[in-house]
Amino acid sequence: MAMPIRSLTLGVVLAVLSFGAVQAQDTPRGDPKAGLVNFKKLGCYTCHGIIGQGTLRDGPHLNAAALGFPAVLAQLRNPRYEMPIYTASQISDAGVADIFAYLSSIPKGPDPKSIKQLQ
């Protein structure tokens, strides 16, 4: 699921504008544990990091809440820019919902001010 960092801005903006408003009713219930399995199996983690934190050159931070499920699904099925395509034969919509549930379950992370090593 590689996507260069420069496509991040466009992707996020379009996703939020297009789908953010309908996110709640369009998000199927997924299983976070199964989502983690899919996230690893399909290699999503290789470009986006194990918690979707993003890597500077290979894939953006996957902020599931900001993106919304329809945008995530659309990006997999008809990817913008360099991200590889993942069709329904590779992962079902339900499988994508599991990934979305996994990404949504990840806590926000601590306040950087609370981490000595980041000061």
């Binding site: 399909l42 290699g43 500077l56 820019y81 360099e82 590889p84 069709t87 926000k108 090593q117």
Partner: protein, 642 residues
């Protein structure tokens, strides 16, 4: 000379002598029953043999002793090598005649390591190191590191041996290792090579090679030292005439002054100039000059990190908002950009590989100052796709900088200066929030397992930030965290990358850097990938043997991670990403190598594998204590891919 002998004649005689002696001795006892063994080595005429009562010896100064004089005249501190018989004369002269000082023999376990150490050493010491590689076979081992250095425009003196005269070569091995033209193997990625036929020729060619390789554009050079020349004594009449040329006042090629004035004119007229620096910083003066230029014209600087160009936290350093800065430019001043085409274009990794021009101002003008066009070879394509600038100056960018700054000061009116000062303040304000954004991103991944690249790098930073540190390794596989969050403030903190992206650069080049840092008392911290370390694990023994202080942190993602992504991309494009074999060939797992044990086996202090991020602080602290005592250390850290 009565008891001396030409080396090759002596060797040939010794090769035949045991067989002849054996035949004579055995003949007394078993002459009636056993025929004398038949030697496959042709007998050497008695007239060419040494007398049996006095062992043959070389008296007086040898050719390789003089070669050491030449190396000493060039102030070469170290010569890295693993031994090879084609240069045994020179090897012996370095350690005995030269007292193993200037150059000191650094023992490596692979020629690629020797050459890569030269690469890293130069980038810190700013003076070349030498390596000595076996004829043909050793030279082939060294080639990848030499190519990296060539692509990175870094000099090194590569010496190899060759038994040039066919009639004095021993059977098999010396023929296998001899070549009609050793330089042919590396001519595509050296600046110059020579195979001198005399000692005077060796002196002149080696000094010429040194002169050429240290004049921009820089690159490795090869000198072939003939075996007979090395090992034979120097005839008295020859020795009297030998002399070593001295290099005196030398300067780098700076840009034409009239063209520089034109550049100043364009920069003063620009509304939104941007500076792009790639292989710009040649000396430790470079960052200060670049800051002076950027502040003078109020321009953001985009740094591609292939040299230590500019402190990362300087408010005019806009590398973290590269595209935003470049999109705003009406003039881009590109300093040793390497890839002028790639500065404004992108070829995405899609099936059709379309050219995707970057979004730029319609009236954008490109100024190029660099040496790229001053040395190019045809075969290997490291010169990148061609793009023309609006104004191009052939000359070393750093050497041109003082003239450009002076021209700007001379040509700027008071109104120009006020306008630039105002712009400078605005440009500086644009970077104010970048550090906080990066901290936020690092915090998000702080607790993950495998350990995130942000955690790995920032745990290290927390313990070196009050030291005089130097980080010699590439960071693109670590999401560039050091450039995002460390304070890279001194002109020697970093040194750029491999040049040609040949894996196996980081571990040995870092050791070369550490060798240069050793005398300066700097703490060298190298973050290397597991794939990289596996290309040259023997470098750890060299570090231990020579007591070179360096901390290796192994960013162990248990894979050739770049290729994991590449194969997944292929499989997904072909709808085969679910195939059970999709990770075949890209993982370094099952069994997972234990790099701490490997390092311990080579004699290093080592810890790991460290899997829990909470264990990092103590592990790094212990390892740094070891390094500060003058020893190498290694920590194996099980890490996320990037």
């Amino acid at each position: 000379m009565s008891k001396t002998i030409k080396r090759r004649q002596f060797l040939a005689g010794m090769a035949a002598a045991p067989a002849a002696g054996l035949a004579a001795t055995a003949g007394k006892a078993v002459a009636q029953t056993t025929p004398a063994p038949v030697s496959s080595v042709p007998p050497v005429p008695m007239t060419d043999r040494p007398s049996s009562d006095t062992p043959p010896q070389t008296i007086g100064k040898t050719g390789s002793d003089f070669m050491v004089d030449v190396l000493k005249s060039l102030d070469i501190d170290y010569i890295a090598s693993c031994p090879g018989s084609t240069f045994r004369g020179l090897h012996e002269s370095i350690i005995n005649y030269g007292d193993n000082k200037k150059p000191e023999f650094i023992t490596t376990l692979h020629e690629d390591t020797a050459a890569a150490m030269c690469h890293g050493y130069y980038k810190v010491a700013k003076k070349p190191m030498a390596c000595m590689v076996h004829g043909t076979v050793g030279l082939q081992h060294a080639t990848m590191a030499m190519y990296n250095a060539f692509a990175d425009r870094v000099p090194m003196l590569v010496l190899t041996g060759n038994i040039g005269k066919q009639e004095t070569r021993q059977a098999y091995i010396e023929w296998d290792h001899a070549a009609q033209d050793q330089g042919a193997m590396v001519r595509d990625f050296t600046k110059w090579d020579d195979q001198p036929a005399s000692l005077q020729g060796f002196a002149e060619s080696t000094v010429r090679a040194y002169d050429m390789m240290t004049t921009a554009p820089m690159a490795p050079v090869l000198i072939v030292a003939d075996g007979d020349l090395q090992e034979d004594p120097i005839p008295a009449e020859v020795e009297k005439k030998l002399h070593i040329p001295k290099l005196k006042m030398r300067f780098q090629p700076a840009g034409d002054i009239a063209a520089v004035r034109e550049v100043a004119k364009m920069l003063i007229a620009a509304d939104s100039p941007v500076i792009f620096a790639n292989r710009y910083g040649r000396t430790e003066n470079a960052p200060a000059l670049l800051i002076q230029l950027a502040e003078l014209i109020g321009a953001p600087v985009v740094d591609s990190h292939n040299r230590m160009n500019m402190p990362n936290r300087h408010p005019l350093n806009h590398s973290l908002r590269r595209e935003a800065a470049l999109q705003s430019a009406d003039v881009i001043l590109a300093l040793e950009p390497i890839d002028l085409f790639g500065l404004n274009n992108y070829v995405p990794d899609l099936v059709t590989r379309p050219n995707d021009p970057r979004r730029r101002q319609a009236n954008l003008k490109i100024i190029h100052i660099g040496t790229e066009g001053m040395m190019a070879k045809s075969n290997f394509q490291d010169f990148q796709r061609f793009a023309a600038a609006d104004l191009s100056i052939a000359g070393d960018a750093e050497a041109t900088m003082p003239a450009l700054i002076e021209a700007l000061k001379t040509q700027m009116s008071v109104a120009d200066k006020n306008r630039c000062d105002g712009r400078c303040a605005k440009v500086k304000a644009q970077t104010a929030k970048l550090l906080d954004q990066s901290r936020q991103e690092a915090a998000y991944q702080w607790e993950t397992q495998p350990i995130s690249s942000a955690r790995l790098t920032m745990e290290l930073w927390d313990q070196i930030k009050n030291e005089d540190w130097m980080m010699p390794t590439e960071t693109q596989f670590l999401s560039d965290w050091p450039y995002r969050l460390w304070d890279i403030d001194k002109p020697y903190r970093t040194m750029g990358g491999s040049g040609a992206q040949g894996i196996g650069y980081n571990s040995p080049a870092a050791l070369g850097a550490a060798l240069a840092n050793k005398d300066k008392g700097r703490l060298t911290v190298a973050m290397v990938g597991d794939g990289d370390l596996n290309m040259a694990p023997g470098v750890l023994w060299t570090a231990a043997h020579h007591k070179i202080p360096i901390l290796y942190l192994v960013h162990n993602n248990r894979a050739y991670h770049q290729e994991v992504m590449m194969i997944l991309r292929m499989a997904s494009r072909r709808q085969r990403v679910n195939n059970k074999n999709v990770y075949v060939g890209t993982l370094i797992d099952d069994p997972a190598p234990d790099y701490a044990k490997i390092a311990q086996g080579y004699g290093l202090y080592a810890q790991g594998p460290v899997s829990d991020p909470k264990d990092l602080t103590a592990a790094i602290r212990r390892a740094i204590d070891v390094v500060k005592k003058g020893e190498p250390a290694l920590i194996d850290i099980v890490s996320d891919g990037r």
